[in-house]
């Protein structure tokens, strides 16, 4: 179907990051991971070309890593294919890939299955990039976007390397039990999973496996 292949081709072109873009994105990811809970922004011109959650792997992956793109995206494009072609990365299943992107939602089981590496080889722990609807620093008492002011959200408290004392962030679009699952996975430190949360807006927060995550509040949809 020519329409589909045109979309795919256009998506592939959009998904290719040039060396400067890759470097800028890397610096944001580094900053986010080194300072968990501090909000960082993906460069707008890149984050608007593709689903923002894909930007990290488009910047960092190549034919020497395996990637898994899980979940659907409203655009209907086969983003897993786009990533494979644009970066050369090999495609893998979520439980074995070095980089896993969740475009929509995940379950605690999904997180528990991710590769964690070992104490002898912590570098084999998966890098997870999880899309979310919104990200806010603090307790989430600020006004939400008018889109869905009563969206379910979770507030988590962060402590650990890179965090002076503690930080709180509020996330809409990822359930509390997923964060609890992530916490459990990372109890096997130095094995573990390193995570970036990427909001639709291109906002980015890093959660390395060293970050202690505690769910302090959660609201269900429609609740204040």
């Amino acid at each position: 179907m020519t329409t589909v292949s045109h979309d795919l081709a256009a998506a592939i072109v959009a998904a290719r990051l040039d060396p400067n873009e890759s470097q800028v994105v890397f610096r944001r990811l580094l900053d986010a991971l080194a300072r968990p809970g501090r909000m960082v922004w993906l460069p707008a011109d890149v984050a608007r070309r593709v689903p923002p959650a894909l930007v990290p792997i488009l910047a960092l992956c190549d034919l020497e890593v395996t990637c898994c793109v899980a979940g659907d995206h409203p655009t209907g494009v086969d983003w897993a294919e786009v990533v494979a072609v644009a970066t050369g990365a090999r495609r893998g299943e979520a439980h074995e890939a070095a980089w896993v992107v969740v475009l929509s939602s995940s379950s605690p089981h999904d997180v528990a299955q991710l590769r964690r590496g070992t104490a002898l080889a912590p570098e084999q722990g998966t890098r997870l990039v999880h899309a979310c609807r919104q990200l806010h620093v603090g307790d989430g008492e600020q006004p939400w976007s008018s889109d869905d002011p009563l969206e379910a959200h979770v507030t988590i408290e962060l402590r650990g390397p890179g965090v002076p004392d503690r930080r709180r962030i509020t996330v809409a679009g990822i359930k509390a039990d997923v964060f609890e699952a992530l916490s459990q996975v990372n109890e096997s430190f130095p094995a573990g999973v390193d995570t970036w949360l990427v909001a639709d807006s291109g906002a980015l927060i890093g959660l390395p496996r060293t970050t202690q995550i505690t769910v302090t509040a959660q609201t269900r949809r429609g609740a204040h």
Binding site: F26, E123, P164
Partner: protein, 295 residues
């Protein structure tokens, strides 16, 4: 063709960056691999992450690891300071700095406040550094347990299991034999209560700077093919005993002959008439001296 033929005149550069004058020293895949390694290093503070260290225009042992880390991190909007023993003008520092700026278009400065990335062999600048600084330390030997264990597999196990008993015994024996712990530079430190690291040969003077720093510190060992990191706001504690205080280098009464400082790391200038001391951080000293001239 030499680098001299392609370099622009050495002069203060505008914030727009100098035009690139050398082709990139690393291909894009190499940079991506090093970047992925750096992220792992930050996620597991103090763990020596193996990577496919590439050969660089500087020899192994001369900063090829620090250079790879800087080249992976730097962008044309960065300003790079490069020092060796604290000196921007040391020939090796100059060589590294021009390789970086000429191949990436980054700016250069000797002043930490104007810089964003500081690559250093064996010193941390005396200036207070900011949260947006990245310090890249050149590492000759990344293995802190090298003196107590030679077998690679056993070393890997010790780090994996946080079994540092042999290190502690060695420090104890050192204290008993010599009356003090005789570790000179590169003092072994515990990062985030978990991994022991080789703090490169930075002097003990600089060790406290790593603890709960506002900046990120990356360690590049090109020959040994390892990268490790200390994230900002992370505990870095020198290994010592509760009743044996950690000692920095101090020579009572010594002050810098140029700027008069007694609160910077000083190095000795031997002379027939008796030693003088000067700041190892030459740019810090220069600025201090300049500021005093205006009094």
């Amino acid at each position: 063709m030499t680098l001299a033929d392609v370099l622009p005149e050495a002069s203060p550069t505008p914030s727009g960056g100098v035009p690139t004058s050398l082709p990139p020293l690393l291909d894009e895949h190499a940079k991506r691999e090093i970047r992925r390694t750096i992220l792992t290093a930050v996620a597991v503070p103090g763990y020596q992450v193996p990577f496919g260290s590439r050969e660089m225009p500087v020899a192994r042992g001369w900063g090829s690891g620090g250079l790879q880390v800087t080249l992976a991190v730097v962008g044309s909007g960065d300003t790079v300071k490069v020092i060796d023993q604290g000196d921007d003008a040391g020939v090796n520092a100059v060589n590294l700095r021009r390789l970086i700026t000429a191949s990436t278009g980054a700016n250069e400065s000797t002043v930490p406040e104007e810089s964003t990335i500081i690559q250093s062999r064996h010193r941390i600048p005396e200036d207070e550094l900011r949260s947006d600084h990245i310090v890249v330390l050149q590492v000759p030997v990344p293995e802190p347990l090298r003196g107590v264990e030679r077998d690679q597999r056993e070393l890997a196990r010790m780090h994996a299991e946080a079994d540092y008993a042999k290190m502690w015994v060695s420090l104890y024996e050192d204290k008993v034999r010599n009356g003090v712990i005789t570790q000179t530079t590169g003092y072994p430190c515990l990062v985030d209560g978990r991994y022991v690291i080789a703090t490169t040969p930075i002097p003990r003077w600089d060790i406290p700077r790593l603890h709960q720093a506002p900046f990120l510190t990356l360690f590049g060992a090109g020959r040994e093919k390892r990268i490790y990191a200390v994230p900002p706001h992370t505990d870095v504690e020198p290994l010592t005993f509760t009743d044996v205080p950690f000692e920095v280098e101090r020579t009572p009464g010594a002050t810098c002959a140029t700027c008069g400082s007694d609160r910077s790391f000083l190095v000795e200038v031997p002379a027939a008439t008796g030693s003088r001391w000067v700041c190892s951080d030459s740019d810090w000293c220069r600025r201090r001296q300049k500021a005093q001239g205006h009094d």
